[in-house]
């Protein structure tokens, strides 16, 4: 082809500036500027134990699994336990639930907890002067002992029963919490140097001498006495407090409860009783005076009970018992109706005019709540409304005495008990250091995750997760930019991997339907659990995704040597694109600093 006319063309005349545009201080135009300000993820804010869920999820995203375990163990003394039995309010709060499905935090926690138990326990970095006695080896007592030990104190736990664990051992069936996990957890505490003495029942006199012998006493005796129904003929053969039944079965006994068993109540104890009764070969019917929606039990527990064949009789309440030849044969129930809402917001159950009925039962288990038995208190500690009066840090009116868990009026969950033990450990630490002239201020609001539970890392002041301060606002879903997230299904446990049909480790039979005492929920395979962690949005916390840097139209954002970001305020025009694009709401536009 001939040389085109254009081959000799000159370069077109265009305007090009070779001077740097940095000379234009466009930053002077702004009236509002972006600031990196980490917030608090709702999971952290809602965890009664005060776990840094978002923090360990981020470490897992970076494949820093060991550090994730360490971060979890700073706040939660028993993730292998809570990963199995906690009602995980973190998941109810998870912002991802507004996007597709909440992150399966409990399954990730369980994986990390199991990893923790396979390793030696954490040990205190320093030792501090002070000996503390803990009364009760349930989750509250163990949490207090664990945290105080890590803070450097010498702790002795006193347990009335022959084996430690409190409600974890007495109340929770092994199909939810295998005893191997609990036993390993306790051995782990002992390896930390915590002395756990079983068979030591404390009365008032013994409690007074503890106060004299130790620098501080933490009371966590729990709530173990089942409440009576208040129905005619309740005292007699065949009517058994549910907790007593659970305690016996959990200790290895297999009481004869007959074929037809009714359980009265709608909480977790009722679910545990019903599912345990099924495992002993009975047909369990739960009698509850309100409706399914009113049940305080964990939803998954109700669903699993139903799947295992437990029958529910809602809006019913026992009013009389019939026996023959000294055996219970039937329970007579009122039909209930829904009345006006009560203080809890649920509609009061009132006796309906019609519909009373009777049902044959061989055994009736009561599970309408438990009261604390408070005969272990030092004489200076008062009792108010059946509980030990304690402030938000567990301090009682009696000097040197703290309390936590069910007996101290704390919300009756394992997670809340763990949180109460931790809060008390912080205040005991403060008090014991103050006694030695080290005046430390414990500002509870600043130690709480945005008004939630206390953070031990914040109290210790050595949080390995560096967040920008002030960081104490919960980040709601509408503060996120979900455009940058992709839908990913939540990992689910594979039922086949469970041991539904399996026999208990002691070789006892499964119950009707083939359900045994071996663990029902199999958890996730290790790789799946770590993959689930990657579904976390890291709400409110910068994880250096660099979208701000990429979107900044003025190229005014740069990475700093420490891996964070700097904003060139001479050239940031304050457009807000970075704050708008940030997937996790970790940048705010503010007039501060201008």
């Amino acid at each position: 082809m001939a040389e085109p006319v254009t081959a000799t063309r000159d370069a077109p005349l265009i305007s090009v500036s070779r001077a740097s545009t940095l000379a234009n201080r466009t930053g002077s135009w702004k009236y509002i500027m972006p600031t990196y300000r980490d917030g608090v993820a709702p999971c952290n804010a809602r965890c009664p134990t005060g776990v840094d869920v978002e923090g360990y999820m981020e470490l897992l995203r970076q494949d820093r699994v060991d550090e994730a375990v360490d971060l979890l163990l700073r706040e939660n003394p028993m993730p292998a336990v809570t990963g199995r039995v906690c009602h995980h309010p973190c998941e109810a709060a998870c912002n991802r639930g507004h996007f597709d499905e909440a992150v399966a935090v409990h399954l990730v926690e369980r994986e990390l907890g199991d990893r923790a138990l396979a390793e030696p326990p954490p040990l205190p970095a320093t030792r501090r002067e002070g000996r503390v006695a803990v009364v009760g080896s349930g989750p509250a007592g163990l949490a207090c002992a664990y945290h105080l030990t890590l803070l450097g104190y010498t702790v002795t736990v006193l347990e009335a029963e022959a084996e430690a664990g409190g409600m974890l051992r007495q109340g929770i069936p092994s199909y939810r919490l295998p005893r191997t996990v609990l036993d390993r957890q306790l051995a782990w505490y002992r390896a930390m140097g915590i002395e756990i003495r079983c068979g030591e029942r404390i009365d008032a006199a013994a409690a007074d001498s503890l106060l004299a012998e130790y620098d501080a006493v933490f009371l966590a005796p729990g709530a173990h006495r089942g409440r009576p129904l208040g129905a005619a003929g309740e005292v007699g053969p065949g009517v058994v407090p549910g907790l007593e039944f659970l305690r016996a079965v959990n200790a290895g006994a297999r009481p004869d409860i007959g074929r037809h068993v009714a359980i009265v109540g709608g909480g977790n104890t009722a679910m545990d009783c019903a599912r345990t009764a099924q495992r002993l070969g009975a047909r369990a019917t739960v009698i509850y005076r309100r409706t399914r929606e009113d049940m305080p039990a964990i939803a998954s527990e109700i669903a699993e009970a139903e799947a295992e064949g437990v029958v529910f009789e809602f809006l019913a309440n026992p009013r009389a018992f019939h026996r023959a030849h000294d055996r219970l044969i039937a329970v007579e129930c009122d039909r209930m109706a829904q009345g006006e809402p009560d203080a809890s917001g649920r509609r009061r159950a009132v006796v309906a005019e019609h519909g009373a009925f009777s049902m044959y039962v061989d055994t009736l288990l009561t599970a309408i709540g438990e009261d604390a038995v408070l005969d272990c208190l030092p004489s200076a500690v008062p009792v108010t409304n059946g509980t030990i009066p304690a402030d938000e840090l567990g301090a009682t009116p009696a000097t040197g005495t703290w309390a936590g868990g069910d007996a101290a009026g704390v919300e009756r969950t394992v997670a809340d008990a763990l949180g109460s033990g931790k809060a008390a450990a912080m205040d005991i630490d403060r008090a014991l250091r103050a006694r030695r002239g080290v005046d430390v201020v414990l500002d509870a609001p600043s130690l709480r995750w945005a008004g939630g539970a206390m953070s031990m890392s914040r109290w210790r002041g050595d949080d390995p997760v560096q967040r920008t301060a002030p960081a104490n606002d919960v980040v709601a879903f509408d503060a996120l930019n979900p455009v940058h997230f992709t839908h990913l299904p939540r990992h689910r446990e594979h039922p086949d991997a469970g041991q539904h049909g399996g026999a208990a480790p002691d070789g006892s039979n499964g119950g009707s339907g083939g359900y045994g005492f071996a663990e029902v929920n199999p958890g996730l395979a290790s790789a799946e659990a770590l993959a689930e962690a990657r579904r976390c949005f890291n709400c409110g916390v910068c994880n250096a995704c660099e979208l701000c840097l990429m979107f900044c139209p003025d190229a005014a954002i740069a990475r700093t040597a420490d891996g964070r970001f700097s904003i060139d305020l001479d050239h940031c025009k304050g457009c807000g694109v970075c704050a708008r694009e940030c997937p996790r709401g970790a940048i705010v536009m503010t007039r501060e600093g201008l």
Partner: protein, 386 residues
């Protein structure tokens, strides 16, 4: 290979054969099929180009400006309001001397809202500095799309390829699709004379003071003037390779004509039929089709029309307050002719907003022009309800 394809897909195939490297576009009726097919080609890997999705035509052209400044062969497509929305960035492409190629499907401007054929969208962009080529057939659309890249890159100016809404965009015609090797011979890889380079940062489109600005504009005008020679050369090469030629303005049966129609776009094809029929009846009537509107081929048109007694310009557009735009341009081009050679020019405005321009309509224009004593002071509106 001959294919029966709509005009929109003729554009897409042309862009693919031109080995375009960056495409950024926003959909709009009746253009959408153009970029739809291109996006599929990009997605499948058939066309190894980067397709940049954007939220508006303004951003589409901004993306093209950036890509072209970086040295990439760049394409977009639009229509009507989409083109209007690009207006500011059209200046950036032309003033920046960036050889972006765009297909614009001619569609009426609203309001009243109208998706049909009308040239006012592209003619409203007359002074942005874009070369404009108006097509008559789907074959011309495909060939022009390929030629446009060579033309644009030779003179460092952006090119707009225009095709009639629906008459071409959505009408299937047999089109000869040239083999890739032929197109590769015709169109070498782009050699940008300026090119953004991250290793040597500098800013394009920087401030220019009054003492330099005019020189830039004169350079742009000189480039426009070179278009006539470059396009003729490119079309000659194309003719050698394909046996098809698309002159900037084409005379059809104008020998000894007493009356010559001047048309653009698909009206041309209709007019060819009318002229053939009239010639068969012994009437001395011919046609000049204007393909290149910017730069306006004034010299060529003077040559084709000198000495013709009467010229009737059919404008599918209107410059409100003046008249048909092709007529207006042609009047000033013909003014340079000596008075004896200068035709009497009759302007007609017709077919706006997709109104049909049938053989009868064109016949009426012919008859009206032949019987008129002298041109009216203003262009006549054809087929308008009283």
């Amino acid at each position: 290979m001959r294919k029966v394809i709509v005009g929109n897909h003729a554009v897409s195939l042309g862009v693919k054969l031109a080995r375009c490297e960056v495409i950024s576009a926003y959909p709009i009726t009746p253009q959408t099929q153009v970029v739809e097919m291109l996006s599929e080609m990009c997605a499948s890997g058939e066309l190894p180009a980067r397709f940049i999705k954007v939220e508006s035509e303004h951003s589409a052209m901004a993306a093209c400006v950036g890509a072209s400044a970086a040295g990439a062969r760049t394409f977009t497509a639009s229509s009507s309001h989409g083109l209007a929305y690009m207006h500011e960035m059209l200046h950036w492409a032309a003033g920046g001397r960036l050889p972006v190629v765009m297909a614009n499907v001619n569609r009426a401007m609203g309001p009243g809202w109208n998706i049909w054929m009308d040239q006012n969208d592209s003619l409203s962009q007359r002074d942005t500095g874009w070369i404009q080529l108006y097509c008559e057939t789907n074959q011309e659309v495909l060939d022009t799309t390929i030629q446009a890249f060579r033309l644009a890159e030779a003179v460092d100016l952006p090119v707009m390829v225009l095709l009639d809404a629906f008459y071409l965009s959505h009408t299937s015609e047999p089109v000869d699709v040239p083999p890739q090797a032929l197109v590769d011979e015709f169109l070498p890889r782009r050699r940008a004379r300026h090119r953004l380079d991250p290793k040597e940062p500098h800013a394009y489109g920087a401030l220019v003071r009054p003492d330099d600005y005019m020189e830039m504009r004169r350079d742009q005008q000189h480039a426009m003037e070179r278009v006539h020679a470059v396009l003729a050369e490119a079309d000659a090469d194309w003719a050698r390779l394909t046996d098809r030629t698309w002159p900037a303005a084409e005379a059809y049966r104008t020998d000894d004509a007493e009356l010559v129609l001047v048309t653009s776009g698909t009206i041309t094809s209709t007019a060819r039929h009318v002229i053939d029929a009239r010639r068969a009846d012994g009437e001395r009537i011919g046609l000049v089709k204007v393909r290149l509107f910017r730069p306006f081929p004034s010299a060529l048109l003077r040559r084709l029309l000198a000495g013709v007694p009467r010229v009737a310009v059919l404008d599918r557009n209107i410059s409100p307050g003046h008249g048909g735009i092709f007529a207006e341009e042609l009047r000033s081009a013909l003014y340079d002719l000596p008075p004896d050679d200068r035709p009497a020019l009759y302007g007609y405005v017709l077919g706006l907003g997709g109104r049909d321009v049938t053989p009868d309509v064109i016949g009426g224009v012919i008859d009206g022009t032949r019987t008129a004593a002298a041109p009216e002071r203003e262009d006549l509106w054809v087929g308008v309800k009283p």
